[in-house]
């Protein structure tokens, strides 16, 4: 369905941004494997990004509601 396709596209876009951000933040010199500390850093980075996404999404929704009430 269109709905599903959009959800997938949406998820792909978050994953792309997450990879970029967390790779840049966690991998200074790319070696021959991801060390366990690299993996920990990436996992934390991506968890925090998803947390941030949820908070931002809620705050944005609330702002839109407030603006609609004002007009």
């Amino acid at each position: 369905s269109v709905q599903q396709q959009m959800a997938i596209q949406n998820a792909q876009e978050i994953l792309q941004k997450l990879s970029d951000k967390c790779f840049k933040a966690c991998i200074q010199k790319p070696g021959s494997t991801l060390s366990s500390s690299d993996q920990k850093c990436i996992s934390q980075c991506s968890d925090r990004y998803m947390d941030a996404w949820n908070i931002v999404s809620r705050a944005y929704g609330e702002r839109i509601k407030r603006e609609q009430l004002r007009h």
Binding site: V2, M6, N10, E13, I14, K17, K21, A25, C41, Q44, C45, R48, Y49, D51, A52, W53, I55, V56, S57, A59, Y60, R63
Partner: protein, 84 residues
């Protein structure tokens, strides 16, 4: 149903407009998360859990960014009307 009459179908138009709005809102959330993550979390390195300070910063960041956009939009409209 021909292509033409399909394109003019009000139900379809409403559906497409709603989908587009949803897309725009999702794109804006991506954009805001990207900016506010950098403003509020980047400098604090590896963060094992969001503190209430991070949460407040993220919420303020969304509101201040939208304030900033509104300020600039109004200012730009003014400038355009003055024909500068």
């Amino acid at each position: 149903m021909s292509l033409n009459s399909l394109a003019n179908d009000p139900e379809l138009q409403k559906f497409v407009a709603a989908k587009e709005l949803e897309n725009q809102l999702a794109a804006q959330v991506h954009h805001l998360t990207n900016i506010c993550f950098d403003k509020c979390l980047e400098s604090s390195g590896n963060v094992s859990e969001l503190s209430s300070r991070h949460t407040t910063c993220l919420q303020n960041c969304v509101d201040r960014f939208l304030d900033c956009t509104m300020l600039i939009t109004n200012r730009t409209i003014q400038r355009m009307q003055q024909g500068r």
